[in-house]
Amino acid sequence: MRVVIVEDQVLLRAGLKRLFADGGHEVVASQDDASHLLATVAGDRPDLVVLDIRMPPTFTDEGARAAKAIKDAHPDVGVLMLSQHIETSHVVDLVRLGGFGYLLKDRVLAVQEFLAAADRVARGGSALDPEVIGQLVARPSADGPLAELSEREREILKLMAEGLTNTAIAKRLFVSERTVETHVRHVLSKLDIAQSEDGHRRVLAVLAHLSAARDQR
């Protein structure tokens, strides 16, 4: 896949470039801030843009605004936003668009999972950091529907919310894909979520449910 990297720290930018190269991907461009990013994307037609949320000049939300701009102009280009910490406010809108990922920066050290997430995003899927999901799923209230889920089912729910496919979940949990499918069916029916084969729509449904549950708490 063709990747554009936007990261202001030289070492990290070099590391990311090497990471994608080592994984067999082509880094078509890398730059240290979000200026001219739209032109780069239009010119190089990458599959994925990896960018840091905090960048010069103000180090606040340049990355988030650039991500929004790319998704507006090129909905088919995947955007993977990296952050030093979880900033949910920037994520909520973008994740609905599909082809969007949001991960803590240190996730890059788990190379295989990171590249898998990048690949998913480039293909129009989603990738949400487990921290974000963790905040949504943590401590179910005693009477909520989440309380009816078993420990295993809750684990699978989190992975679904992260954007993983059944296959990826099976690989992650070292179980068979059929087992995963059964669990998924149970989870979705317990939570009263419509079954869907479309990975992204499933993520959205799960996230919507989790957000609603959280707001009720």
Partner: protein, 666 residues
């Protein structure tokens, strides 16, 4: 200028001394119509000396002052008049006319325009200039009258008036006696008009004058009125009792002395209120002496009748009575005199006393002293400035720093109490009817001013403490934010870079290398280090606060050990206020977990009446005592630094509510 006036004064004294010699020698027998002989002549010589002396003093202090020169001239003219009259009567009657220059002397004594010059001096008071150009005709009128008097006296033919009738005017124009008499009469009319207009000029000046100027004019106008009234009475009495002419003229001369004296004092003394004090004291002690004397006499007399006159007990009792009566009587008399003579001052001081009583009783604020001073002194622009100790500068009554030297023309009067400078009164001298009242009122209200100053000082120090506390907290927050940024953007990113480098090394080494395991271990360590750094940074200052209080509280709630219902406004507040609110919620949640054993917590942050109100309520065991544990006192400092309040409602068994109110403007 000064030698000239000194010379004139010496001349006047010499002339008056010569006149006194001839006055003492006298005509040798009683004369008819002897207006300026004997006691009368002496009185008028005194008047001459008074005019000359006051005139010389005015000119030496205020060179070129019109009134000074007019007075100097008047003094010399009156002395010359006295000399000519006493010389003529002595020469004519004691020496039988056998003296040189008799008729010339009589003529010189008559041809003196004294009255018009008096009118001129009224016009020129108090600054030595005419009130305006419009008054020039009046001055000209005086000059014309003066000239007319001289001409009429010099050219009038025939014998002079009684008692100088044995002498005939050598310069008289034959047959012009009636004409000259008419001229003389016309000059008197002009002089009377000029005198009347002079008084009118004073009255007009009084209308436009304020403060000290007004005081002077009032004073001179009063004296002029008294002198005028006295003149009218004395002249009027002439028609009823034509006897004792000499005594009447003596009284008139004595009365006139009041005019140069009063005028001189008014011009030379800058402030006239000490004259009021003199009058005041004279009245009080005069009456006191009279009453005490009467008491003493009455007691001594009565007891003397009973015990025998001159007895020691009677004298002792009378003395004792007087001694006992002295203080209360003096106070009563002073009060009475103040009430009658200085109504305004009397009322002002009584209002100040009543106000101090209210301050003592706690029903009036000491800061109200400024308004009180404005009221009693009738000066709406009056302001108080307190001088704070230790170089605190000047503040107004509310304690706000004020410029110590205002640019307007207000006068500054220092306030002192027990030798300490408390501040100053800025006041408009022109606005005050009685400038002498100010120091007395200020002295009387000293206690209230001292309290007001102490309170201003206290307020300023409290403000300073609050401001410094806010600064300290803000500096701490800024530092936390800086460290948080550095952790995230520095150390954390660097660790990620190192991790990526290790991953690359792993990749390059290939799947078979034994060192892969070592690298894997190092990478796990790096991952843990990054996680720890993130936790550390979050404890310093949650990065979510950058996006607002609501996201930060949501994030906080999601990480809590028990369900937390968050109801937070999406509104943004000043940075420090949001941070303080966040830490309040943080501490309350920690307490709910650690001490209260709560199972549910509700967390709300809403704007209410210009404040951000944070309320954290749990369903735990309650009974939390405020003030124990550094967490809460630290919070109290943080909330207090923003002028907010923190309170805890925690009854045993009824859960705990922690409520913080943080003012955030409107």
């Amino acid at each position: 200028m000064r030698p000239a006036v000194t010379l004139l004064w010496l001349l006047t004294v010499a002339v008056a001394s010569a006149a006194a010699v001839f006055l003492v020698l006298g005509p040798g027998r009683p004369l008819p119509e002897d207006l300026f002989g004997g006691i009368s002549g002496a009185a008028w010589l005194m008047l001459a000396l008074a005019y000359a002396t006051v005139g010389a003093l005015i000119v030496s202090r205020l060179p070129g002052h019109g009134v000074g020169w007019v007075f100097t001239a008047l003094g010399l003219l009156i002395a010359l008049n006295g000399l000519s009259y006493s010389y003529a009567t002595w020469g004519l009657y004691a020496r039988g006319g056998d003296v040189p220059g008799l008729s010339a002397a009589v003529l010189g004594g008559l041809a003196l325009p004294i009255a018009p010059l008096m009118a001129l001096s009224l016009l020129l008071f108090p600054d030595g200039r005419l009130p305006s150009r419009r008054w020039r005709p009046v001055a000209v009128m005086s000059a014309v009258a003066s000239l007319g008097f001289v001409v009429a006296a010099v050219l009038r033919p025939g014998p002079f008036d009684v008692p100088l009738d044995p002498v005939s005017n050598p310069l008289g124009v034959p047959g012009a006696r009636a004409v000259m008499d008419a001229l003389n009469g016309a000059c008197w009319v002009l002089t009377c008009v000029a005198l009347g207009l002079g008084v009118r000029a004073l009255a007009l000046r009084l209308r436009g004058a304020r403060g000290g100027e007004r005081q002077r004019l009032k004073w001179v106008l009063t004296v002029s009125t008294v002198v005028g009234a006295g003149t009218v009475v004395l002249m009027g009495s002439w028609f009823l009792w034509p006897e004792n002419v000499q005594w009447r003229m003596a009284l008139l001369g004595g009365l006139f002395i009041a005019f140069p004296l009063a005028t001189g004092i008014a011009i030379l003394r800058h402030r006239l209120y000490d004259i009021d004090v003199v009058i005041n004291r004279a009245l009080v002690y005069g009456t006191l002496t009279m009453l005490l004397g009467a008491t003493y006499a009455a007691i001594a007399l009565l007891l003397g009748v009973a015990l025998g006159s001159g007895s020691a007990p009677a004298t002792g009792a009378a003395t004792l009575a007087v001694a006992v009566a002295f203080r209360p009587l003096r106070a009563r008399l002073q009060d009475e005199v103040d009430r009658r003579l200085h109504r305004a001052g009397y009322d002002a001081l009584h209002r100040v006393a009543a106000y101090l009583e209210e301050v003592r009783a706690g029903t009036a604020a000491p800061e109200g002293v400024e308004r009180l001073l404005r009221d009693v002194l009738g000066d709406a622009r009056l302001e108080l400035r307190f001088l704070l100790p230790e170089g605190g500068g000047y503040v107004d009554v509310r304690g706000t720093p004020a410029v110590d030297a205002p640019s307007d023309a207000r006068e500054q009067t220092p306030i002192e109490r027990a030798g300490t400078r408390l501040g100053m009164v800025l006041h408009d001298p022109a606005a005050q009817e009685r400038p002498d009242l100010l120091p007395r009122v200020v002295a009387a209200a000293g206690l209230a001013m001292e309290i007001a100053r102490l309170r201003a000082e206290l307020r300023r120090q409290l403000d300073e403490v609050a401001a410094s506390r806010a600064r300290i907290v803000a500096a701490g927050d800024a530092e936390r934010q800086r460290i948080e940024r550095n952790l995230h953007d520095g150390a954390q990113q660097r660790l990620v870079s190192i991790g990526l480098a290790l991953r690359h090394a792993q990749h390059e080494l290939g799947p078979e290398a034994a060192v892969r395991q070592t690298l894997e271990g190092a990478l796990t360590e790096i991952g843990d280090a990054i996680g720890e750094l993130r936790e550390l940074a979050r404890g310093l200052r949650p990065p979510q606060l950058d996006d607002g209080l609501a996201p930060a509280l949501q994030e906080l709630a999601s990480r809590a050990a028990m369900p937390v219902a968050v109801d937070a406004t999406a509104e943004r507040f000043p940075d420090g206020v949001e941070t303080a609110a966040y830490f309040v919620a943080c501490e309350a949640l920690t307490n709910a977990t650690k001490h209260a054993h709560a199972s549910r917590v509700s967390l709300s942050a809403q704007r209410r009446n210009g404040s951000l109100v944070i309320c954290v309520a749990d369903d735990g065991v309650g009974g939390a005592a405020p003030g124990n544990g550094t967490g809460l006192s630290g919070l109290r400092d943080r909330v207090g630094a923003h002028g907010g309040t923190l309170r805890i409602e925690s009854e045993r068994g009824a859960g705990t509510r922690l409520i913080a109110e943080l003012p955030c403007g409107s």
